[in-house]
Amino acid sequence: MASTTETKQKKMLILKSADNDEFEIEESVGVQSETIKNLVEDGFTFVPLPNVYTKALIKIIDYLKKHANKTDSNDEEIKTFDKDFVNTTFDDLFELVSAANYLHISCLMNMLCQTIADRIKDKSPEAVRKIFHINCDYTPEEEAKIRKANAQAFEGQFDESLD
């Protein structure tokens, strides 16, 4: 892949992931990311992304391409795409949310945060700890103190499932 600024008529950008893989995308697709937009405005056409790994970058480029071609007629198609996009593991979601944060893609950030929040919702603290391998660093006294403060919130049923 050559680092020329123009291929045919369209302006192209090269994105380089943290694992040193390079991806060529149209500038109009890339500038949906504020981070990339700022670099492009400063004249960059080669964009190193040291905090974004290849796996996440591939998915995010897919997302950007889909959303760059947004018209009134493909609204449904994009909705379906988004649904499938977030239908993945927690690990992937966290990887994507870090990447989206670094790239400053606000619509993607919102969607990912909402998705993760939806999956945490209704889960018991124990189930959440198991899912994320979180060590409970409270002493029993500290935990009791918070439980007491929360008392009125603890009326509902917990969801103990780990998906």
């Binding site: 943290a18 905090n51 790994y53 909705k79 649904k83 927690f90 690990d91 966290f94 949310v97 870090s98 944060n101 950030m109 945060c113 909402q114 993760i116 929040a117 939806d118 945490i120 919702k121 209704d122 889960k123 018991s124 603290p125 959440v128 700890r129 994320f132 391998h133 979180i134 060590n135 409970c136 660093d137 409270y138 500290e142 935990e143 103190k145 918070i146 439980r147 403060a149 929360n150 009125q152 919130a153 603890f154 009326e155 509902g156 917990f158």
Partner: protein, 491 residues
């Protein structure tokens, strides 16, 4: 939120900042830079992925949760606690105010204005805290001068409002005006259509629960059409509903709970166009035994469906209704009397619960990926052909009410049927009359069945045996419930 009003003070604040009991215990153990610089290869399964996230991301994830969910989040770990949004909850309980300050009923009416003044002063003193909080929560219980109180607090832009009235006949004077209003739980009041006459929309509203509310189906339709971003809707024992029809497409609706046990009117129509709907629980009992006309074909993302009504709805094809929901994983079928053969055929189904379902031998279940099968009814009938569910891991059978004959032969018959299922069978059995069971237990054949290979006594595989005391509604008569758990090991 039933008990939330029971406290010492009629106005109670809880807040998630400044006086935070845990604040002094926390120290920043990791800076954001350290987290980002963590080499990729150091990750193992035991790593907590949330520690790798910059704190503000956790914070933005948590900002999508309601105050109740945040209570759970704070308990997970100190890191999570640190990153939950700050909140301020204002709890107003008029009945406690009067009890505390004016204990006799005669004086109460004279001092209603004092209460309003007092709420006003409370608002003044907590104003700066309210403004600072990232989530503002309001709970009002049993307020007689709701009109004035609502006017007082309206400017405070609450995120969550819990409103519980004294009587179902009390009218909700108007809808809250708030630009960041995400959750509304209403309990016991009447909603009149005129409060929705304005152009106003509730764009921020995401969660709505109407519990014991008097409103007509038409009013509900108007209300919901003004909530384009609603994600979760619960309708519990709402009186006067004849229909649940949402004419507009609800793109974001994820969960819909309908539970109508003693409705004044029969529901004739249910229409929901919600392409993202994942959970739909429909629990409906009425006297008239009229089938509901249900149109939910647009809900193709449905994962969990509870169809718990007396008659199988018109509009769903009993032969083929699962095909409308290609992602269906959990299905609960209530009595659902149908004129036609009911066919449950779904390759995605993982959990099937038949709850007093009027199924007949000719009804078909075909679910190759079924993991859990639960049956609750009067007598066990083997509707599920084991070959239709080769991956079955768990079978629960609850027998309740009027089990006529529990004896050795009956158990043996049941066991034989169960042997065709998988190796791990969990059988739950509830029997009503204590005396009857005791006698039957005694009458079992003495002798050691373990030495015999073929004829095992019914207790041979018994794993667990529990007795629960249960108070029945009729004059607090005590009842005992027995729970047996068998484990079948087939070598």
């Amino acid at each position: 939120m039933n008990n939330a009003g029971v406290g010492v003070d009629p106005v109670r604040y809880d807040q998630g900042f400044s006086s935070d009991p845990m604040a002094d215990l926390f120290c920043m153990s990791q800076t954001i830079e350290q987290i980002i610089k963590k080499p990729k290869n150091s990750r193992t399964n035991s790593d907590d992925p949330t520690l790798r996230l910059p704190h503000h991301i956790l914070h933005s994830i948590f900002s999508y949760l309601t105050s109740q969910d945040l209570a759970h989040v704070r308990l997970v770990s100190k890191n999570w606690h640190r990153n939950t949004p700050s909140y301020f909850a204002l709890n107003l309980d008029q009945s406690l105010f009067f009890k505390k300050i004016f204990p006799t009923a005669i004086i109460q009416s004279q001092f209603r204005n004092k209460y309003t003044d007092w709420v006003h002063s409370c608002l003044e003193t907590s104003k700066s805290k309210l403004n600072k909080a990232e989530k503002r929560i309001l709970r009002i219980y049993y307020d007689e001068n709701i009109n004035e109180i609502m006017r007082l607090i309206d400017g405070n832009n609450f995120h969550e409002v819990y409103l519980r009235f004294k009587d179902s006949l009390d009218y909700l004077p108007y809808m809250f005006r708030s630009t960041c209003f995400t959750l509304l739980h209403l309990n016991r009041c009447s909603i009149q259509p005129h409060i929705f006459h304005g152009e106003e929309k509730f764009n921020s509203l995401q969660e709505l629960k109407l519990d014991s509310i008097m409103l007509f189906g038409e009013t509900l339709s108007i209300f919901i059409s003004k909530c384009p971003n609603i994600r979760e809707l619960s309708l519990v024992n709402c009186m006067f509903l004849r229909s649940i029809v949402f004419p507009t497409k609800l793109d974001r609706l994820k969960k819909l709970y309908v539970e109508l046990m003693n409705s004044c009117f029969s529901i004739t129509k249910v229409q929901v166009i919600a392409p993202s709907l994942q959970v739909f629980q429909f629990v409906y009992r009425d006297q008239s035994h009229v089938a509901v006309n249900m149109d939910i074909r647009a809900c193709r993302m449905l994962r969990e469906f509870h169809l718990d009504c007396l008659k199988f709805p018109i509009g769903l094809d009993p032969q083929n209704f699962c095909s409308d929901f290609p992602r269906l994983e959990t299905l609960l079928m209530g009595p659902c009397e149908a004129s036609n053969t009911v066919k449950i055929s779904s390759p995605s189904l993982r959990k099937l619960i038949l709850f007093f379902t009027r199924m007949y031998e000719h009804h078909v279940v075909s679910a190759p990926n079924l993991c859990t099968y639960e049956y609750v009814g009067t007598t066990f009938k083997p509707f599920l052909n084991p070959s239709a569910a080769p991956n079955l891991l768990e079978t629960r059978i609850g027998l309740a009410y009027n089990v006529e004959k529990i004896n050795r032969a009956w158990f043996l018959k049941l066991r034989t049927r169960l042997q065709h299922f998988s190796n791990n069978i969990l059988l739950t059995l509830c029997i009503r009359d204590e005396k009857e069971v005791r006698e039957e237990l005694k009458s079992r054949k003495e002798g050691n069945c373990c030495s015999c290979t073929m004829d095992k006594c019914w207790s041979h595989f018994l794993k667990e045996f529990e007795v629960h005391e249960k108070k029945s509604s009729e004059k607090d008569k005590l009842k005992f419930v027995f729970k047996f758990t068998w484990q079948l090991i087939i070598s």
